[in-house]
């Protein structure tokens, strides 16, 4: 990341006509301030993370022992579906948008986002989208039970009544993501401080710029696929119904055309966060900044041509299987190689291991394990044995939980002193880290074994040979689940109490956001900073 040696005199932001935030509920309902909206996104994401987490615990409690103990199969399917939807669209994506809202303006020296009112609106439709989705749990026929990938015809002809609520929920989430992406691109391209050229932008802003383009390209396709579903269910068309000339495999193609870029949307901002944190605590500039920028841009483009590796067993002709296998293996190079950049940054650095750095290192190690299992899944003939088993569940949980979620936690611990103005309680941070690290591995590593041994995914009960590893996974899930309460305690504690944090906060930190005092005043960079 380009060092920005800003020798800006320490200006206390107290010009007279400055007005602080409004008082009471109005502040949060009508705010157009990127910091308040960022906080609301992060709090919303934390709540969704808890709700999704409870569903995960219900799933793991049922799978603790062979036999049906807690829930009947149809409700179990509702839990797996809602767990997936809430974690993907409710916890991970809003958290990254919240971090973007907080940090991008401060990192590029902009006073606020380019379209503040749209920013407010794209947040406030999210809680209602998830109210619509969660209310379907209490409807006759229950919540959606067809998996977060909602394959037709299970999600169209054989779906419960509440599928229409699911469709409208997804429409609103998509609209919120698209507006958020437009806002971020407009801010980054048009509102950088003079001197803050594209070449000097921090890595978090770069990855978010590219993620925003990905969002604009694929969220409309997701809206398209759910609209086709709506037409199939209510208006008698046959997009996915073989009787009327449609094709269920068409659904899978259109869904995964959205699906694969979506998984990159969930990991590129994490690359950005880790590329901010490791240089700070290694006290050494990010190795190969330009390679990172170019690679992330090429990943965005290449992520559009590999979607069918999710469909190797659907019955594609040989040419298709071999094409998508080669394409998937080829794009694994620019993605996987980025891990070497982080290791090279740490090499010959001078490291200290506060909580953000611990989460970042855990990200690099465990995300790489998820990357390796991903590479194994790319091999089509072997995928015939892995597809839709717990090996795939282990793969995507390793890239998402120690991947995206750990990077969000690292970002929280890294920037909280800047947001709240209080130093972090290091020991409690480490308690949370080690509990989560142990919990995540006990939960998801045994899933590799039961997946290879032949346990399919999305089943409420299993044969006896999978019993032991499943009970281990369930114990791990409860450890990981309850250790998030420590995370909530740390956040609340940090907001309320703790010694005063300096503007610099971390010794090795670089970037415009560290030139403003901690806690960051309500309006920062009203007068653009001079970046040499």
């Amino acid at each position: 990341m380009a060092t920005v040696d800003v020798d800006l005199p320490h200006v206390k932001d107290d010009d007279p006509h400055h007005h602080g935030p409004a008082k009471g509920l109005g502040r949060w309902l009508f705010t157009t301030n990127h910091k308040d909206i960022g906080s609301m996104y992060l709090i919303f994401s934390l709540c969704m993370f808890m709700i999704g987490g409870i569903m995960a615990l219900i799933i793991r409690a049922e799978l603790f022992q062979p036999g049906l103990q807690l829930v009947e199969p149809n409700f179990f399917n509702q839990m797996t579906t809602m767990h997936g939807l809430i974690m993907v669209f409710g916890a991970v994506m809003p958290a990254f948008v919240g971090l973007a809202n907080w940090m991008i303006p401060m990192q590029i020296g902009a006073p606020d986002m380019a379209l503040p009112r749209m920013n407010n609106w794209s947040f406030w439709i999210l809680p209602f989208a998830f109210l619509i989705l969660l209310s379907s749990l209490f409807m006759p026929g229950g919540a959606p039970n067809f998996g977060w990938t909602f394959y037709a015809p299970l999600s169209t002809t054989y779906a419960p009544e509440s599928v229409t609520f699911f469709i409208f929920g997804v429409h609103i989430m998509g609209a919120s993501s698209i507006m958020g992406a437009i806002n971020i691109i407009a801010t980054i391209l048009n509102m950088r401080a003079p001197g803050m050229t594209l070449m000097k932008m921090p890595m978090f802003t770069w990855t978010w710029l590219i993620t925003a383009f990905l969002l604009i390209a694929v969220m409309p396709v997701l809206a398209g696929v759910v609209t086709m579903m709506l037409m199939d269910i209510h208006f008698g068309t046959s997009f996915f119904n073989a009787a009327g000339g449609g094709d269920p495999v068409l659904f899978q193609h259109v869904f995964w055309f959205f699906g694969h870029p979506e998984v990159y949307i969930m990991i590129l901002p994490a690359f950005g966060i880790i590329s901010e944190i490791i240089p700070t605590f290694a006290r050494k500039r990010l190795f190969g900044y330009s390679s990172m920028v170019y690679a992330v841009a090429s990943i965005a483009l290449l992520s559009f041509v590999v979607w069918a590796h999710h469909m190797f067993t659907v019955g594609m002709p040989l040419v298709g299987e071999v094409f998508f296998m080669f394409a998937t293996m080829l794009i694994a190079v620019p993605t996987g190689v980025k891990v070497f950049n982080w290791v090279a940054t740490m090499f010959r650095g001078s490291m200290t291991f506060e909580t953000p750095m611990l989460f970042a290192i855990a990200f690099v190690v465990l995300f790489t394990i998820g990357g390796f299992s991903g590479l194994m899944l790319a091999i089509a003939p072997a995928d015939f044995q892995y597809h839709d088993t717990y090996f795939v569940v282990a793969h995507f949980h390793y890239v998402l939980v120690p991947g995206a979620i750990f990077s969000i936690m690292a970002a929280a611990y890294y920037w909280l002193p800047k947001w709240t103005g209080h130093q972090l309680n290091e020991t409690m941070g480490k308690v949370h880290f080690w509990l989560s690290f142990v919990g995540v591995n006990i939960t998801f590593f045994p899933m590799h074994f039961v997946g290879l041994a032949g346990m399919p995914r999305r089943i409420p009960d299993y044969a006896l040979q999978f019993a032991d590893f499943n009970s281990m996974a369930s114990v791990g899930a409860f450890i990981f689940g309850f250790s998030q309460l420590v995370f909530i305690y740390n956040i609340i504690q940090n907001v309320r109490v703790g010694e005063k944090a300096t503007a610099q906060v971390w010794e090795g930190a670089h970037g415009l956001e560290w030139t403003v005092p901690s806690p960051a005043p309500y309006h920062t960079f009203s007068t653009p900073p001079k970046v040499d």
């Binding site: 290694a282 190795f287 080669f326």
Partner: protein, 364 residues
């Protein structure tokens, strides 16, 4: 209260047969061994790369610590190193792609098969039709509901056992034509390395040539609704002679069944047979006690159909009810079974209508 008991019971019922299988099944066919070798090759490559990468990383974590006085250097770019660590994985990938493509091509072998079997996925059971012989049967989960509800200890093949397994000859190429009746299912036998999606309205094909006779178990691997976890696949591989004998037996049994349909049964025979059919086929939705699930599946006890006109009762069992989960059991149950289960539903589960049905009265 009952939930507490079942919970306690399940904790006590220590799985009789703990198993810590950590790796993929090597399988019993040439293809499955090829896939296993490919899997292990790529696994070891990943382990090697992992050791290299994490080695450097943990080395730098321990060596370059601020507390040990390490001072950070200032270089932050070296394109030659970067080109190197991009080309090496690229070459490794090509090394992996060659055997992978070879295995994939072997899998797509379209040579003539000795036996062709149509596999149709239904909501929550499989149907096997032998194209060359006139054999056609359904394969339902046969694990008793008491085991699933933890009222009884679980047997070794819990959830992986069916009433009519698919029977194929050993050392012969058997070709599967896979399709579905309602939603997408997926037919998978880990020991064959055969997994193909069953898609309604379309046909897929796969094949297997098994070397060792034996019983091989798999499961449906695409979410297909409520009982997705309860529609296993069991394939019994017999030697060629046993297979020929089995085909002959099947044909003889079919003739006997036709004869039996014209036989007259007593009430007790019908009730006994009916109870078995009810538990295997109907209890999934209407529940063991016939109470059903309010709002989802109607109760049999005191139902207007089960206590109403006998023809209406037969019609709904034979032709099902369109637009609901009540399937047409015409093809799934023999005339004898339908007569028995209708009689059972009218004279048990709290109903006592008193009339009975003979198989001859069921026209399919």
């Amino acid at each position: 209260m009952t939930k507490a008991i079942t919970l306690a019971l399940s904790l006590l019922a220590v799985p009789a047969w703990a198993d810590w299988q950590v790796n993929m099944n090597e399988g019993v066919t040439a293809i499955s061994r090829e896939v296993f070798d490919l899997h292990m090759l790529i696994f070891w490559i990943c382990v090697a790369i992992g050791i290299a990468v994490f080695g450097v990383m943990f080395y730098s974590i321990f060596k370059f610590r601020k507390s040990k006085g390490a001072v950070a250097e200032h270089w932050h770019e070296n394109t030659t190193v970067e080109v190197l660590w991009t080309v090496i994985p690229f070459v490794i990938l090509i090394g992996m792609a060659v055997p992978a493509t070879a295995t994939l091509m072997d899998m797509y072998d379209t040579s003539e098969a000795d036996v062709d079997i149509q596999i149709t996925g239904y909501q929550w059971k499989w149907r096997y039709q032998y194209l060359d012989e006139d054999i056609d049967f359904f394969s339902n989960l046969s694990t008793p509901r008491e085991e699933i509800m933890n009222a009884q200890a679980k047997n070794a093949n819990y959830l992986l056992e069916v009433d009519n397994p698919l029977v194929i000859p050993a050392n012969k190429k058997v070709r599967f034509l896979i399709t579905a009746n309602d939603v997408i299912h997926s037919w998978w036998v880990p020991h064959f390395a055969v997994k193909k999606d069953a898609i309604p309205g379309f046909i897929n094909e796969s094949w297997v040539k098994v070397e060792e006779p034996g019983v091989y178990r798999g499961q449906c691997t695409e979410l297909c609704g409520k009982d997705h976890g309860f529609m296993p696949v069991v394939v019994e591989v017999k030697s060629e002679e046993d297979y020929a004998k089995w085909v002959a037996d099947q044909k003889a049994m079919k003739l006997a069944m036709a004869g039996e349909a014209s036989k007259q049964f007593s009430m007790d025979e019908l009730l006994a047979k009916g109870e078995g059919v009810y538990q295997a086929t109907c209890a999934g939705c209407h529940q063991l006690n016939g109470q059903g699930i309010p709002g989802a599946f109607p109760a049999i006890t005191g139902s207007s159909i089960a206590t109403g006109s006998i023809d209406g009762h037969i019609d709904i069992v034979v032709n099902g009810k369109a637009g609901t989960a009540m399937q047409a059991f015409k093809e799934q149950l023999s005339a004898v079974d339908i007569a028995a289960v209708v009689t059972y539903q009218r004279n048990a589960l709290g109903n006592s209508v008193g009339d009975m049905v003979q198989p001859s009265a069921i026209q399919k």
